[in-house]
Symmetry: C2
């Protein structure tokens, strides 16, 4: 059956003319199977990095309107080249900038959000047999300035176009075969997932972000647009990210994600009074530092221990802010630990299965891995452990939840 | 007095971040002297060549709509970087693509012509103290496609904007100090010209084209917009190209141009009947081959010898076409000579001075340089000689017409 498919290819998929020809082959194949295709591209390989390097030679903190005008050229190059490659194959490729199509965003330069996608022009082109090839990652604000969506924004462009065009599927091509039960470089028993729900994909955060921008997943989830994550370098069918109700199987744990680039900060003995969490995290947030895990434990003497994790790159700034806060709160000792890793198990089946947490903790205990923090959400359990034990923990959990086995459906 | 100046900088003037900073210094200086400035830029150095190389990897003859979309990114990069450099200096630089400003062209992709420049937006920006930095070389057609004006089109953008804005002067910055009496690399007595008329600039053709696109000169001449040709690498005041009536001095010869990349084709003994020139040159022109000098001499027996010059790169194609034509015309022998150079002396003073031609021929004769073709126009005399004698001819003529001396005004 003929489908309308939006295909988005990332930077490694269009890194040079050889890769662009390979992408043209993929698009040609889908068109020849009788489908209508709209293509969204990122900039070629490290082209964007080279442009940023040029900007920083002029000014380490360049004006953001001009920064957007500069880096938006990267995708314009790749779409023109792919259109040429399609035309060579007798496919009616036609490049468009987001500007030409009027993809409207707000004015937050370098991290703009898409407000509106006018699809009349694309719909007309599709009806006439064209294959529109569109610059991802960018748009225009209501003043007619060029904006960019921030790193990974091309995924969002792909999903937004798929939603606006009412496409059957949004296919996001990367350099990995799809979403795995865990990072295959960490554990060679990692298995490619056929299906995953939007919510799980979001909860897999750090792991998921390597293959798919979270903003794009949120957008797709909101509008119920199925995303297929697949590789332009292989024939793998990839992973379909979709609404939970459309997936038959319900594994207890779908995947294990890990991150070892965070640091843990603890303030001991702060007064256990209302508003103390806000007082501690407010200044951190004001400094633009993202907080990941937050844990608060009751201590002795009406005091509490407050712990949270942040990215290691923000550690020295956060530490300074926290020292001021702690003394103003008449709090106690400040402890910092960058020797940590966070492991999360994620699965939509957790809702219906008690005992997942205890099974997780038992598996770690059996391997003599000590847990220093625990947080849970409806479909995710995260633990913070010592960095050196990360790989062992992933393997233990992957085995404990039989993630290398085929699912019973 | 405050002026409105359009400054156009070529590729070598914005070749890297160091050069872009130098351009920002020049613009800053002009702004601080109380002038309003609009800037037009070419792409950085060999950026356009690199983009063309990418296109040719995909297809040696790429689709021209896509070719234009591709190469137009080069100027977008340079304008954003210059705007950043101006903002760093406290000058309100603001980049614009021709697309954003609605610089309208026809649809002849890769060699489009500017039809209309809407200046309301620029005028408003100028009034608010901004320095618009605009992509040269490009525009959009009425379908909203990106077009380019062809190599050197940035000069035309500069002049077209200057005309539309009613600027006081259009300054074209290159890597040479201005227009010289002859190529300084050929004869070290060559002298920088303070003034030259539009018509002379056009007649200096090959020499002039190295510093200024002829299309831009034609455009400026039509609208009487003075162009100053100057260097972004030196403090030279450059050469002012303007309407003849505005120049006081009237030198007999202003400059000597030369070209040694042409070839000469002669068809002997074609019938001396009406329409024969059209019959010979028609097929050449249909093949897209530009003809430069044309000379026809009456021969014996109601036949004529027909000679013309073309670029050497077109020689093999032209020769083939000409053989067919010659036999259909029952013409005689075809002669080809690529060992030639064309030397032209140009000067608005020729109109009022008899004997310029004989002085030229005498100077060449004194140096035993043989002339094989002669053509003349109102302000130019061109001769074709042997290539090996080109430098000697230039020196002889430069001395004969005292071009190294100061003018009597």
């Amino acid at each position: 059956m003929s489908k309308l498919i939006v295909k988005k290819f990332g930077g490694t998929s269009v890194a040079d003319s050889v890769r662009i020809e390979a992408v043209a082959d993929i698009v040609e194949q889908t068109v020849k199977e009788g489908n209508k295709v709209t293509v969204v591209l990122s900039a070629m390989g490290n082209n964007t990095d080279e442009l940023i390097k040029l900007a920083k030679e002029i000014n380490p903190e360049p004006d953001l309107r001009e920064y957007d005008a500069l880096v938006s050229t990267g995708e314009q190059v790749s779409v023109a080249l792919l259109a040429m490659a399609l035309l060579k194959r007798g496919i009616k490729g036609k490049s468009y900038t987001a500007y030409q199509l009027g993809i409207k965003t707000n004015s937050s330069h370098s991290r703009a959000r898409i407000l509106d996608v006018e699809v009349n022009k694309i719909t007309k082109e599709l009806a006439e047999g064209f294959v529109p090839v569109i610059t991802g990652f960018q748009g225009m604000n209501d003043r007619g300035d060029i904006t960019t969506l921030g790193r990974g924004g091309s995924d969002t462009t792909g999903v937004a176009l798929a939603v606006a065009l009412k496409a059957d599927e949004c296919q996001i091509y990367t350099d990995v075969d799809g979403v795995f039960t865990t990072d295959p470089r960490v554990y060679d028993k990692a298995k490619l997932l056929e299906n995953i729900s939007f919510e799980e994909m979001l909860e897999l955060s750090s792991m998921g972000a390597k293959v798919l921008q979270l903003r794009a997943v949120e957008y797709a989830s909101k509008f119920n647009m199925p995303i297929r994550v697949l590789s332009s370098f292989s024939e793998s069918k990839g992973t379909l990210v979709q609404e939970e109700n459309n997936i038959m199987e319900r594994p207890i744990v779908s995947g294990i994600s890990s991150i070892d680039t965070e640091a843990k900060l603890t303030v001991r003995g702060v007064p256990d009074i209302p508003g103390v969490a806000a007082k501690i995290l407010g200044p951190i947030s004001d400094a633009g530092i993202d907080v990941d895990v937050i844990v608060q434990n009751i201590g002795a003497d009406n005091t509490t221990d407050f712990t949270f994790t942040i990215d290691q790159s923000d550690l020295s700034r956060a530490e300074k802010i926290l020292q001021d806060t702690s003394s103003s709160l008449e709090g106690g000792q400040l402890e910092v630990d960058a020797d940590i890793a966070k492991i999360s198990i994620v699965g939509r089946g957790m809702r219906a299965n008690a005992g997942v947490a205890s099974k997780m903790f038992q598996a770690l205990a059996d391997n003599e891995i000590n847990i220093s923090m625990i947080t849970t959400s409806e479909i995710k359990i995260s633990v913070v452990i010592k960095k050196g034990e990360m790989k062992a923990a992933i393997k233990a959990l992957h085995d404990a939840f039989d993630l290398d086995k085929e699912l019973d459906s």
